[in-house]
């Protein structure tokens, strides 16, 4: 039995033991992409609890009878099962393995009680037909081994949140087949963060990476509260070909007690670029690397981690397939098979005339 696997050194054969989220982080790492360091607590650890007689009884006994239409009853059932799971004394082997992995993580990050995210990583996550997005719990800014262990069991029990139970029932998944791995990953303390697409969302040009960036955590961009800086980077030349620096009035940043708070941005920083040119290029490079790895345009989340050395500070948090442009059927550009016929059509319809037709008439009238 091994209860812990580091995310770096991920072996795809072990996907079933790590769950969807941990596997995708592991895969990014194995593609050479910098994601915050961490480890997975494997489903073997979960089974030490799930296999406990009390839990087994609670789950099989109670679940069979619940009426999905009765929300209150479902909530009650969920609470009962979760309580039962969290009450089971932690297996000594699991506790020891997690403590020692956490210690090592602190060592790797050169920090005491390094803050971590403790994330659910269910084995049925990110399946082609079921995302399970948001079904299970994630805990941020967890510090110290005891807290990590406490949140570990909460993640396990979140396999039985009311919505997860209902979702599985609707989709016809067997509760016994789904298992829970948990990811323990260093928290990023972002000076700036944002998203990136490995194509130009305006025209679908796959030779460019579009980046949106703002100060602090990504919440501001996601909620639309902050107009982000935007950059367009040419993938091939590696140059920033377009930049728009916005007035960023608010930012989300780490406040007292590990709480993320909304704050006004000081006047001097509001219209300053939230990324240096080198950072912009690094984001583009990482996004491109993810695209290469997955052989498909990507939509990534990234952050600049204040805890890391400047040249390694840009970190990838997530990568998922881009869907808008990628869904369009690929239509060939080449129109004439015969090279000379193609030259004739180029001469007859020079590019600047074509641009003009496409962009509408903004030229001075006759």
């Amino acid at each position: 039995m091994s209860y812990v696997r580091w995310l770096d050194g991920y072996d795809p054969a072990e996907r079933a033991r790590l769950g969807g989220k941990n596997a995708s982080l592991g895969e990014l790492l194995s593609a050479g992409l910098p994601v915050p360091p961490g480890f997975a607590v494997t489903v073997d650890a979960y089974h030490t609890v799930r296999g406990h007689a009390d839990v087994r009884r609670a789950v099989t006994g109670l679940l069979g009878e619940v009426d999905l239409g009765d929300a209150a009853a479902l909530e009650e059932l969920s609470a009962a099962i979760r309580r039962r799971i969290e009450e089971v004394p932690l297996d000594d082997g699991v506790a020891a393995a997690v403590r020692s992995a956490y210690d090592e993580l602190c060592e790797r990050c050169r920090a005491e009680a390094v803050p971590v995210a403790v994330r659910s990583s269910a084995t049925a996550e990110d399946l082609p037909d079921a995302s399970f997005a948001g079904e299970h719990d994630t805990y941020l800014w967890v510090r110290g081994p005891d807290d990590v262990l406490a949140h570990l069991t909460r993640c396990w029990s979140s396999l039985f949140t009311a919505r997860a139970i209902a979702y599985r029932r609707e989709r016809g998944y067997d509760h016994d087949v789904v298992a829970m791995s948990v990811g323990v990953q260093k928290m990023v303390r972002p000076t700036a963060s944002g998203v990136a697409f490995t194509l130009n969302p305006r025209d679908g040009d796959r030779s460019q990476v579009a980046i949106e960036a703002a100060w602090g955590f990504g919440e501001g961009i996601v909620s639309g509260e902050v107009t982000p800086d935007s950059f367009l980077v040419d993938k091939v030349l590696g140059e920033i070909v377009q930049r728009t620096i916005s007035d960023k009035a608010v930012e989300y940043r780490l406040g007292a007690g590990d709480r993320v708070e909304r704050a006004d941005v000081a006047a001097g920083r509001r219209t300053a670029p939230s990324l240096t040119d080198d950072q912009v290029k690094a984001v583009a490079r990482l996004a491109r690397q993810a695209e290469r790895h997955y052989r498909h345009p990507q939509d990534v989340e990234w952050a600049v981690d204040a805890d890391l050395p400047a040249d390694q500070a840009v970190t990838l948090l997530q990568a998922r397939p881009e869907t808008v442009w990628s869904r369009k059927a690929a239509t060939p550009v080449a129109t004439a098979a015969d090279p000379l016929a193609s030259i004739v059509s180029t001469l007859l319809s020079p590019l600047h005339a074509r641009d003009h037709a496409r962009e509408g008439s903004d030229a001075p009238g006759p």
Binding site: S207, D234, Q242, A353
Partner: protein, 605 residues
């Protein structure tokens, strides 16, 4: 913003330049008897090739070039939508107007001819190009062989004993006519391939823009870069000579202030003599290289102005002693080119597109060496010979008192030279003094005054009403004229700009530094290391300064301008076609050149 440029008929003659029209062939100036046509066209000043006032004889190449270009479009290949490029002179400056084919039926009718004729050239490019190399070298040989000597006191005895029945006076006039014919022939050769080369490149360019709507122009240009071309050979020869000077320890000689002193110092040692013989070997043909565009008799040819190449050798030897690698990083450029090609290929959506991409890139690369190389053979080597021969002829007439100096011959129109030669011959034949000295003395003085007045005038970038869209492909490719750039000129012309300049993003990167504004090759020596070169345009012979500047800004030119090509080769940012760079920027001002976005910003006054 104004919606049009001035009409050529609104432009006034500068004071003191009255009668300038007579300095050019009667068909060159704008004229009221064809005003309706001329006012209906859009004319732009060709600062790429003729940035300055043309002296009367120098207008010869202008006429020959434009007629030859046009002839190939209109009569040889029948480029479907394009006739030639019409040309005029206004106050001594060159103005061009592309002429399209308006009638769709006529365009349609030209297509099959184009397919047959251009198709033949594309299919047989390699063998035709090889044949061209033979033709051009033959032509240059013939020009070199022409000699202009003063007419003899008496004809050689052989003329009589061989019963030739004709003499030196006829030969002199015949040689001039032959030289002019060869010049026109030269310009016909110039355009034998060029427009087709541009068409193939534009086709590749258009494909890339369709596949990657936001691809920077320069990424496309980089995919055909790194070709070993003769145009770079003069600079390569200088580097070779600099290495030889350092290796054989004669480099101190180049510290002397004049070329004559350098040569004298070199003659004093065996190693110096070896260097000089290597110099001779390199000089023919590579130093038949002009420091300007090659279109003016005043452009200085290295062979005749040794201070220029010796100065470059001195700069190179200094770098070599500092341990700097002066080689053009051709391997790195090629590796970069291959990487770019691979990545775009990988990003294409379909295999069909990848096949088309490779095919079009392949053709663009086949045509590219010609596109680059013709410039050395025509504008540099051939023109250098032509100017030299004309100067030789000028010397003959100067000796007879027609002119004060050899170069005065360039103040005559092409077709006035035969009149002067006739006068000289006729008086020689009769045995009386020619009228020339009295006539030309006065006339040249008048002409010099007119040209001086014209030079103080500053030509607007364009005339007439701009077209909504520029469609003539060669105009876009060669002069960088697009609907966009024309609008830019209109905006900048009436001062509605914000102080920053916009041009072509011709070579990537961003650089800041003090500006050095120079207008001609004579000023190249003023450029200091780390400065940003601001010039109307650059010429191939400026190559050695690209090793020490930080970036380049030019008034004219597009993606294929010389400055663009060289800056890409040297990895320097460049913005071309800003129209007003040399007018707006002052030497010493700190400027930022953004070669990714095509902007130039003045950071401090």
């Amino acid at each position: 913003m104004a919606d049009r440029f001035p009409s050529p008929f609104e432009i006034e003659t500068p004071a003191g330049a009255e009668g300038w029209q007579e300095l050019y062939t009667y068909s060159l100036p704008f004229s009221t008897d064809r005003r309706e046509y001329e006012d209906s066209m859009f004319w732009f000043q060709d600062g790429v090739h003729w940035p300055e006032v043309m002296s009367p004889w120098d207008a010869t190449f202008y006429e020959f070039a434009l007629a030859s270009l046009s002839q190939y479009n209109t009569r040889h290949y029948l480029i479907p939508p394009a006739l030639g490029v019409d040309y005029r002179v206004l106050n001594g400056y060159a103005y061009l107007s592309p002429v399209g084919v308006a009638d769709p039926a006529e365009i349609e009718a030209r297509v099959p001819h184009f397919l047959e004729r251009a198709g033949f050239y594309f299919r047989n490019w390699a063998s035709l190009y090889e044949q061209w190399m033979g033709k051009i070298r033959g032509l240059i040989g013939e020009m070199e062989a022409l000699q202009f000597e003063p007419l003899p006191d008496k004809e050689d005895l052989e003329v009589v004993t061989e019963g030739r029945g004709m003499g030196s006076g006829l030969e002199l006039q015949r040689s001039y006519h032959r030289l002019v014919d060869l010049a026109l022939q030269l310009w016909q050769y110039h355009f034998e391939f060029l427009n087709l080369g541009y068409a193939a490149y534009l086709d590749f360019f258009g494909f890339c823009k369709q596949a990657f709507p936001s691809i920077p122009d320069l990424a496309i240009a980089k995919m055909v870069a790194g070709v070993e071309v003769d145009l770079f050979q003069p600079d390569e020869e200088l580097k070779k000579l600099a290495r030889l000077a350092v290796d054989s320890r004669v480099d101190d000689a180049f510290q002397r202030s004049s070329a004559a002193e350098v040569i004298e110092a070199l003659r004093g040692s065996d190693a110096g003599q070896v260097w000089l013989s290597q110099w001779e070997a390199s000089a023919q043909p590579w130093f038949n290289f002009s420091s300007g565009s090659g279109f003016y008799h005043t452009d200085e040819v290295w062979l005749e102005h040794l201070d220029i190449p010796f100065g470059f050798v001195r700069d190179y030897t200094a770098k070599l002693r500092e341990g700097v690698d002066i080689g053009r990083p051709i391997e790195a450029i090629r590796a970069e080119r291959d990487r770019i090609v691979d990545e775009y290929g990988e990003l294409l959506a379909t295999d069909e597109d990848r096949a088309a991409f490779e095919q079009k890139l392949g053709l663009a690369r086949v045509v590219f060496p010609y596109v680059e190389n013709h410039n050395f053979y025509v504008e540099h080597w051939s023109h250098s010979v032509l100017w030299r021969k004309m100067r030789q002829l000028g010397g003959v007439l100067a000796k007879e008192g027609f002119f004060g100096a050899d170069d005065d011959i360039f103040l005559l129109k092409r077709d006035e030279v035969p009149e002067a030669l006739w006068d000289y011959y006729s008086a020689w034949a009769v045995g009386t003094p020619p009228r020339g000295p009295a006539y030309w003395g006065r006339e040249l003085e008048r002409r010099r005054g007119i040209l001086t007045a014209l030079r103080s005038w500053s030509p607007p970038p364009a005339l007439g009403r701009p077209p909504e869209v520029v469609t003539e492909p060669f105009t876009i490719m060669l002069w960088g004229i697009t609907g966009e750039s024309v609008k830019q000129w209109l905006g900048a012309g009436d001062g509605s700009g914000d102080g920053s300049l916009k041009g072509f993003a011709a070579s990537p990167g961003v650089a800041e530094g003090p500006a050095r504004v120079i207008f001609s090759a004579d000023q190249i020596g003023e450029v200091q290391a780390g400065e940003i070169l601001v010039a109307p345009l650059t010429a191939p012979s400026w190559a050695p300064i690209f090793g020490k500047i930080g970036a380049t800004v030019t008034d004219v030119g597009g993606m294929m301008a010389h400055a663009a090509i060289v800056c890409r080769e040297y990895g320097l940012p460049a913005v071309t076609g800003t129209a007003f760079g040399t007018k707006t920027i002052k030497t010493g001002q700190r400027i930022r050149v953004d070669g990714n976005q095509g902007t130039v910003t003045i950071l401090e006054a």
